[in-house]
Symmetry: C2
DNA sequence: GTCTATATAAGGATAGAC
DNA sequence: GTCTATCCTTATATAGAC
C-alpha cells in the first residue's frame, strides 16, 4: 500500500526534526524528501508548527501508553518489575530512535516549540517511579540510593545512547543501531543497574 | 574591569547557543543581549559561524586540558583514580554548564555547524578510558562490565543532568544548578558507580 | 568601534490556476 | 491535491558615515 501524502510528510518530517531540529528544518527540506512542493505540505497541515506538533505529540503519547502498559503488565516487585519496564522502554526507543532525539531536543531547549512542557507531562511518571524506588529501598530489595537521582541516572544512560547516535557512531566506529549493538547496550544496562541496585 | 566588546559577545553568544542552539540564535539575539547592533558584532568576528567556532572550540579545548590534567595528577589505580577524573570533569561541567548543552547539541546534530567532528576529537580520550577499564577489570579491581558501555553509561549520566537542566527543573521543581543540588548529584553519581564497579 | 542604510537570500505562508 | 507565483518577514552580511 502506498502511504498517503499526509503519512509521507509526517515520516520525513520526523526524520528531519530528529536530525536537524525544528529551527534547522525548513519546509523545503521536508517537501524535497517527500517529493512535493512547499505549498502542498500546507494543504495537509496548517503550519510548520502543526507538523511538528503531530510528529512529537503522537510519539510522546505512544511512549506514555507503552510505559504505562509495562507497569501494569507485571505485578511482581523488585528487580524483575524494574527490569520489565526498563526493557519495554528500551524496545520503544529501539523502534522510535528518531523520537528520542526529538525528545532530547525538547529537554534541551527549555522553551519548546509547542505550548506543552515536556517536564509537566512526564512528571506524573517520574513521581510514580520515585514512589516505586522508595518502596523497594524501604523493603530492602534495593540498596539505598536517592530515588530521584536513580531516575536521572537511568533515563540519561538510556536516552544518551539513542539521542547521540551520530556521536557514538564516530567514537565506536560502528552502527549503534544495529541489532547486535542494541542487544549489547540493553544487556549492559540491565547488568549494570542490577549490580548497583541489588543488595 | 569592564569586559571588552569581544568578550561580552562571546559570553552572550554562549548563553544563546546553549539555550536555543545555532539555528535558533540570530545575530540580533546576541547583539541585543550585549547592547550593540548586528553589524558591530561582525566587526569583531567574520561571521556567525566564526562566533560559534570560538565559543565551542575554546571550551572544548579547556575541557580536554582539564581532563588530561586530572588523569595525569593522580597516579593511583582503581576506584580512587576514576573518582578523581570523574570529579574533575563534573567540576568542569559545573563551571561550564552552558558548554555541556552546546556539546550535546553537537552530539545530537550529526552534521555539526563546524568542520570539526566531535567524535573524532574525543575518540582518543575515549580509547584511553577503554584501556583503563580493561586494565582495572583484568586486575580484578572492578567488576566485569564492557568498558565501552561503561563509558557510554557514565558520560550520559553526567551530561544528561547538565544538558537537560530546563527539563529537570520542571520535573524536580527546583534549580538543578544550585550548590546543594550539584553536590547531591555528584555524591549520587560517585556512590552509584562505586556500587556497580567495586567487587 | 559603532552606527544607519542596504543588498541579498531564505523562510513561512497565501492566492489562485489546473 | 498539487502546482506556480507572490507576499511578507527575518536572517546574514556589506558599505560607508561618524
Amino acid at each position: 500500500m502506498v502511504p498517503s501524502s499526509r503519512e509521507a510528510i509526517l515520516l520525513e518530517a520526523r526524520r528531519c526534526f530528529a536530525e536537524q531540529g525544528f529551527d534547522g528544518t525548513s519546509l523545503n527540506d521536508i517537501a524535497a524528501g517527500v517529493g512535493l512542493r512547499k505549498p502542498s505540505l500546507l494543504h495537509h497541515f496548517a503550519s510548520k508548527e502543526a507538523i511538528y506538533r503531530d510528529v512529537f505529540e503522537t510519539s510522546l503519547a505512544d511512549f506514555i501508553v507503552r510505559v504505562e502498559a509495562a507497569v501494569a503488565e507485571q505485578d511482581q516487585a523488585g528487580w524483575s518489575k524494574l527490569d520489565h519496564v526498563v526493557t519495554a522502554a528500551f524496545e520503544f526507543f529501539t523502534d522510535n530512535a528518531e523520537f528520542v532525539r526529538i525528545m532530547r531536543r525538547e529537554a534541551l531547549d527549555g522553551q519548546g516549540h509547542l505550548g506543552v512542557d515536556l517536564g509537566t507531562v512526564l512528571k506524573p511518571l517520574f513521581d510514580r517511579a520515585v514512589g516505586f524506588f522508595e518502596n523497594e529501598i524501604g523493603a530492602g530489595r534495593f540498596r539505598k540510593h536517592d530515588p530521584e537521582q536513580l531516575i536521572i541516572t537511568g533515563t540519561s544512560a538510556i536516552m544518551g545512547y539513542f539521542s547521540d547516535v551520530p556521536f557514538w557512531r564516530g567514537v565506536l566506529d560502528r552502527d549503534p543501531l544495529s541489532e547486535d549493538a542494541l542487544a549489547a547496550r540493553l544487556d549492559h544496562f540491565r547488568e549494570f543497574f542490577r549490580a548497583a541496585l541489588e543488595p
